[in-house]
């Protein structure tokens, strides 16, 4: 919007926005400080303290801590479900947009995707739990990946059908006339054109999988527990290790920070396209 505001108004708006930014950042700052305090320094509420690394050492390297293992689990599940949902969702979106399915199929699937998106995951997870235990997928990587894939498929299907719709139809027809088979057409024409959409989508579903808690809590046990499940454990212990809880909370935000630094544009695109298109 063209800012033709007076200098004074501009100053006031900046003041408001800086205040809001401070409110957003303050909890992160506070938790960062807590992570470098000794339990005694935290309890006594001192402002000036000597920073220690013992919380991080304890969380990352102590024999009883499994944080690194949880971190690896989250990575595996996040990357695996991301790859899966991108493949399934992009193929599905292309199929719905560019091959002539009867209207009830395409409308029906997209409508069901929206309805499913509205259902609280916790209502599904009970049924998944029974199913997965019966077929041996409970507490396995494929099991949780499959669950996260399912949770994110509606979003990817919708987003990718918008991006696939932007591929010029003449381009696909020209490739057909030149005798390109469907896999070649997808690989050489569709995928390169929708690549920005794939990146935005991929970043978003990775973050969603990394953050997901309700399903991971109930479909994993010790061996496959992800970071959110591990952090929730801290809060449930009889004597909460507050400073270690702060350290592991801080560590768990690293992937999001890295992704935000390298791909803010893509993330914003993903978040807004997912909701507004």
């Amino acid at each position: 919007m063209s800012p033709v505001l007076g200098r004074r108004t501009d100053g006031i708006l900046h003041g408001v926005l800086v205040l809001a930014a401070a409110l957003v950042l303050f909890p992160f700052l506070w938790i960062s400080l807590a992570a470098f305090k000794t339990p005694i320094a935290l309890m006594s509420g001192v402002v000036v303290f000597t920073p220690v690394l013992s919380n991080f050492q304890e969380v990352l390297f102590s024999k009883t801590s499994e944080y690194l293992h949880n971190f690896a689990n989250s990575m595996i599940v996040g990357l695996g479900s991301m790859a899966g949902v991108l493949v399934v969702g992009t193929l599905g979106a292309w199929s719905l947009r560019r091959t002539r399915w009867p209207v009830w199929v395409s409308r029906g699937l997209l409508a069901w995707a929206i309805v499913f998106q509205m259902i609280p995951p916790i209502t599904m997870v009970g049924a998944w739990y029974v199913m997965f235990r019966t077929v041996g997928l409970y507490n396995t990587y494929p099991g949780l990946m499959l669950a996260h894939l399912t949770l994110n498929l509606p979003l990817v299907l919708w987003m990718m059908s918008v991006f696939v719709g932007q591929v010029p139809e003449e381009l696909e027809e020209a490739a057909r006339i030149d005798g390109a088979s469907t896999p070649l057409l997808l690989w050489r024409i569709v995928i390169p054109v929708v690549r920005p959409g794939l990146i935005a989508c991929g970043l978003l579903v990775f973050i969603l999988s990394w953050n997901e808690f309700a399903v991971a809590l109930n479909l994993t046990a010790k061996h496959t527990a992800t970071v959110p499940v591990a952090i929730a454990k801290f809060a449930q212990e009889f004597e909460i290790q507050y400073t270690q809880m702060a350290a592991s909370a801080l560590l768990s935000t690293i992937p999001a920070l890295v992704l935000l630094l390298i791909g803010q544009r893509h993330i914003v695109k993903g978040l807004t396209a997912g909701a507004l298109k």
């Binding site: 069901w112 199913m131 978040l271």
Partner: protein, 291 residues
């Protein structure tokens, strides 16, 4: 053409299979379980038919009732605050001379952090003994409060956390909506000598209505699913002060192993959501038909 038909099926196949096996089938199985008593015997489920007993038991379930009331209370109040704040911040950052991208980068940070981590952060901040919330209110001369542990403030405390977490989401979508508005209308308004408030009330707001509606709907749906923060901050307590429907399902289904009862709550919840969708669609149709 035959191979084209085959590829058509192959490309949609995985999506259809997943929707059938992992979304439709579970709902059918939830329905089946809600009429049964399911117990785990040696790692395998054993089903006993109990008729409508599970559903009749719901009327006696005080957690279920509190869960529904609190979820609605939570969702409506939290989302209204978030929409108001989000709109105000989006408007402000669309008007400032520079720094919009930087503000946006800071504001979207909470969206990217796991809900459970946000719960952990605020649990420390709300702590009675050393939490920063009590330190700050202490500076204002207030007595320390057990924010999460007393009935009067527990739900409010969770709503505050949710606002901190999700106002950025409203901000982001509303800002995107503001950025995509046609500029020539604003220029015309300027030429006609419109005041900033007139511009807001007669141009920006009407143009933004569709975006506002979509954002509101999105956030309401997400708010009805609330689970992570409640799990970490209060576990539904004290008493039933912060019991929300997702948490009731979790408690009945997983911590108490009452699979049939939990399924019945899930089915009723799904039914209520379906009802909401039908009502929303009907309202949208009616609104569109209006000239």
């Amino acid at each position: 053409m035959r191979s084209e038909m085959v590829w058509r099926a192959v490309t949609l196949g995985p999506t259809a299979a997943i929707f059938l096996a992992l979304t439709a089938l579970p709902i059918v199985s939830l329905l089946a379980m809600s009429f049964h008593d399911v117990r785990w015997v040696l790692g395998a489920p054993r089903w006993t038919y109990v008729g409508t007993k599970n559903f009749l038991a719901l009327s006696q379930d005080h957690l279920f009732r509190a869960g529904i009331v609190n979820t609605v209370l939570f969702a409506v109040s939290a989302v209204l605050v978030q929409m108001g704040l989000g709109f105000f911040l989006a408007l402000a950052s669309s008007k400032v001379s520079r720094g919009r991208v930087l503000y946006r980068a800071v504001f979207i940070l909470p969206i990217l952090v796991p809900g459970i981590v946000i719960g952990a952060i605020w649990k420390l901040m709300y702590n009675y003994d050393f939490g920063v919330v009590n330190q700050l209110t202490g500076l204002l001369g207030m007595l320390p409060q057990d924010w999460l542990g007393q009935k009067g403030t527990a739900l409010l405390s969770i709503i505050i956390v949710d606002c901190w977490h999700w106002t950025p989401f409203c901000f982001l979508l509303l800002l995107a909506g503001l950025e995509s508005q046609p500029q020539d209308i604003y220029e015309a308004a300027k030429v006609d000598g419109a005041s900033p408030w007139g511009e807001l009330a007669y141009i920006t707001f009407p143009l933004m209505l569709p975006t506002i509606a979509v954002t509101l709907l999105f956030r309401l749906i997400m708010a009805f699913k609330v689970f992570d923060e409640v799990f970490l901050l209060t576990g539904g307590g004290p008493g039933t002060a912060t019991e929300v429907i997702s948490f009731t399902i979790y408690r009945r289904f997983f911590t108490e192993d009452r699979v049939g009862h939990g399924s019945a709550i899930s089915i009723v919840t799904l039914f209520l959501i379906a009802l909401l969708i039908v009502l929303a669609v009907a309202a949208a149709r009616r609104w569109e038909r209006k000239p």
